[in-house]
């Protein structure tokens, strides 16, 4: 054990670094799960079936209109009521995946619809089935078109993982670790600026990378 000191120690830095790691783990895992789920929903919405369009449209509408804090607590207490109480970390992970799947579904639908109709008709004219056309023509073009939007969604997800503290999830992520340290050393600005620097550095770097990608893709389209 370390002695109780009221200044910022190396141990606190390690604690915050662990919190940053938990943030990244949460972002990546719920990002992957949410993208897979959102891809299926977006694909379903882009087909010509009206039932699927409206049912999943309602799903996306509900998820985008309710604050994330309320979604966390609602899902957690619903699982408890149903008789299967989950570890708050996992229930938070599942809620984040469901939350981001709503946004990813819209982005995927936009990507699928961004492929020019002439290209699709040409593919079908060459004898490709719907699945052939989807996986070999629509998906590569659509993915490149909406890649920057998807990156923006993942960055938003990383910023939203800070809300999982409201469930009391056990390995604390970055903002919750900062809060824990602040209650001891009573120097909020220092610790919060440190945590903010982490979020800012990561988001800014990835945004610059995605802007570079978009510029190159734009040049490749025109050149």
């Amino acid at each position: 054990m370390y002695p109780y000191v009221t200044h910022f120690t190396t141990h606190d830095l390690i604690f915050m670094a662990q919190g940053a790691g938990i943030t990244l783990v949460l972002t990546i895992v719920s990002g992957i799960l949410g993208t897979i789920l959102g891809f299926c929903i977006g694909w379903a919405r882009s087909t010509r079936s009206l039932i699927l369009f409206y049912i999943f449209g309602a799903y996306i509408d509900v998820i985008r209109s309710i604050p994330l804090i309320i979604q966390f607590v609602l899902f957690n207490s619903f699982m408890a009521i149903a008789g299967y109480p989950l570890n708050p970390f996992f229930s938070g992970l599942i809620t984040l995946s469901i939350y981001i799947s709503g946004y990813v579904a819209e982005v995927v639908k936009a990507g699928i619809e961004s492929v020019p109709k002439t290209t699709k008709m040409a593919a079908r004219g060459l004898g490709m089935t719907y699945l052939h056309e989807f996986f070999y023509i629509v998906l590569p073009i659509g993915t490149r078109t909406v890649f920057p939007s998807w990156i923006g969604l993942m960055l938003g997800l990383m910023k939203d993982t800070s809300l999982i503290a409201v469930l009391g999830a056990t390995p604390p992520e970055l903002l919750r670790s900062s809060q824990i340290i602040i209650t001891r050393i009573q120097q909020p600005l220092l610790v919060l600026l440190g945590a903010g620097a982490f979020y800012f550095a990561l988001c800014h770097m990835i945004t610059q990378f995605s802007n570079l990608y978009e510029m190159r893709w734009r040049e490749a389209l025109e050149g």
Binding site: D61, S65, P67, L74, I81, L163
Partner: protein, 220 residues
């Protein structure tokens, strides 16, 4: 599976409290959007100016607002500013943090809108003898409004969702009031479900009204 009896009577008894808190949420949302729009217009204009310092400062505001979590911004406003002796109430700190956040996102939206307009509009307006302020107020921003109306509606709903984070610092807006009430009655699911329904209805009414206005005033 469900050996749990739902007790909705408790929620119905506290309905006036929930609605009052909902009004506070609406108040925070509307005020933060209006203030944020004013600041965002200034930021969007500054980002296009020739003055390097102005451009850098506006760019810094937008980058900070967009790349940090809203919860962190609320914490800095409530806890962090105390280091400088500036002790804000929960209401003012949530309002200022969400205004800061909104200003950043709205400045990006307005910048996209200004870019979508023919740049010769600005040059012609300045060439006709309008001051820059008049050029932006009478020529550019009315055209920008048509382009950015739907993204701004989106941002209004996001501002309402961000206001729910006021719960963490003890502000009694809808989420905070719901947490307070469910801690008294031990019925979290019923209360949070009611709060979710209120949020959903408000967001639905706002987006439907926005699309009706868009169709009527801007012809789609």
């Amino acid at each position: 599976m469900f050996d749990y009896t739902f007790h909705w009577r408790v929620v119905l008894k506290q309905w006036p409290q929930l609605l009052k808190a909902g009004l506070l949420t609406l108040e925070i949302t509307v005020m933060s959007i209006l203030l944020g729009l004013v600041i965002a217009m200034v930021l969007a204009v500054l980002r296009k100016s020739e003055n390097n310092t102005a451009r850098a400062m506006a760019g810094m505001w937008v980058a900070l607002a967009r790349n940090t979590p809203a919860l962190l911004q609320i914490y800095i406003a409530y806890f962090g500013l105390g280091t400088f002796g500036l002790h804000l109430s929960p209401y003012i700190s949530v309002l200022s943090a969400i205004t800061f956040n909104n200003a950043g996102y709205l400045a990006e939206i307005l910048r996209g809108g200004i870019d979508a307009i023919n740049p010769s509009q600005r040059q012609t307006a300045l060439g006709l003898g309008l001051t820059p302020l008049q050029a932006y107020a009478y020529v550019i921003f009315p055209q920008v409004l048509k382009v950015v109306f739907l993204p701004i509606t989106n941002q209004i709903i996001l501002a309402m969702l961000n206001s729910s984070m006021g719960m963490v610092i003890g502000l009694q807006e809808l989420t905070g009031m719901t947490t307070f009430l469910q801690s008294q009655t031990f019925r979290p699911f019923e209360f949070y479900f009611a709060a979710a329904v209120i949020y959903f209805l408000v967001a639905k009414i706002a987006s439907t009204a926005a699309s009706l206005i868009a169709v009527r005033h801007f012809k789609g």
